[in-house]
Symmetry: C2
Subunit: 168 residues, 2 copies
């Protein structure tokens, strides 16, 4: 969090927010028009899709074509709140805490997908491995940088020996 | 996005949202009480901090202690909107598109930090490498799983040859 240069609130104005609102910056276009058959993770997808960034934000895409991968943050907008705090992960039969699983049914249903850039044309990012429902609202795009974003670990909790490599 | 089982809206009700609101699920406690000296990335931090998950969400932390790392999603709540779509990344002098840099000054100022779990006590996650301002509102916690979250690439755009390993 590097935050010194820029337009900031003062600490005097700072109040812990009861709620925080965001405006979508774009929309995902994917072949997944219904909820069946959507891959569980981008690593399990070989399906192309597009992230349309709304024209007013297009300038923010400058320099992004130099990166292989992006984090795309989006909203699981089909999820009804509230959600249970314990739920069953995909293909598992035991209840897990919602913050230890990657289910869309989260108290704040924000999705995080690590997607490979295929090409960028004007305000559209074409990606190679989409795992998101068509017409999903996009909140943010960040470049993926292994030097910041990779940690080596085999401590992956209940997922140990449960990860399928199969493309679903 | 695995979304079949759970409480869902119908496609008939689905409207593209003008804005989306979230309630913080917790708050970050860190030694960084002002905006000076906050590390640029968790990889550049050796400072411990705590994520307090509000009591009503505590059950969601079940099973998380089995993981080494978490993604913490939070709000850069000191940032005033709107932000410029081109801005200068840390220690650089050229304007870059906001979606190709990791600045807090984003159209939707959502932060993503990959943090190492030190211990979990009740509703508090102690982490080893905090890079976030004290009293920052937390939106979500997800387990980090290298099999889902690592991509090998040296295509890191304008950051090529510019990454400092130094702890700041």
């Amino acid at each position: 969090m590097e935050i010194i240069n820029g337009n900031l609130k003062s600490f005097k104005e700072r109040r812990f927010p009861e709620k925080i609102c965001f405006k979508p910056i774009g929309v995902i276009h994917s072949p997944f028009k219904s909820l069946k058959g959507i891959p569980i993770q981008p690593t399990m997808s070989k399906t192309s899709g597009m992230i349309e960034i709304f024209a007013e934000y297009q300038d923010g895409l400058k320099d992004l074509e130099g990166f292989s991968y992006i984090y795309c943050l989006y909203v699981f907008d089909m999820v009804k709140l509230p959600v249970p705090l314990l739920s069953k992960p995909f293909l598992q039969n035991e209840l897990k805490g919602v913050f230890s699983i990657r289910t869309p049914f989260r108290p704040n249903p924000i999705g995080l997908s690590l997607l490979e850039i295929s090409e960028i044309n004007k305000n559209v990012i074409k990606v190679n491995n989409i795992d998101v429902l068509d017409k999903t609202p996009v909140l943010d795009i960040k470049p993926y940088v292994p030097q910041f974003d990779f940690r080596e670990t085999d401590k992956i909790g209940w997922l140990k020996n449960k990860i399928r490599d199969k493309i679903s």
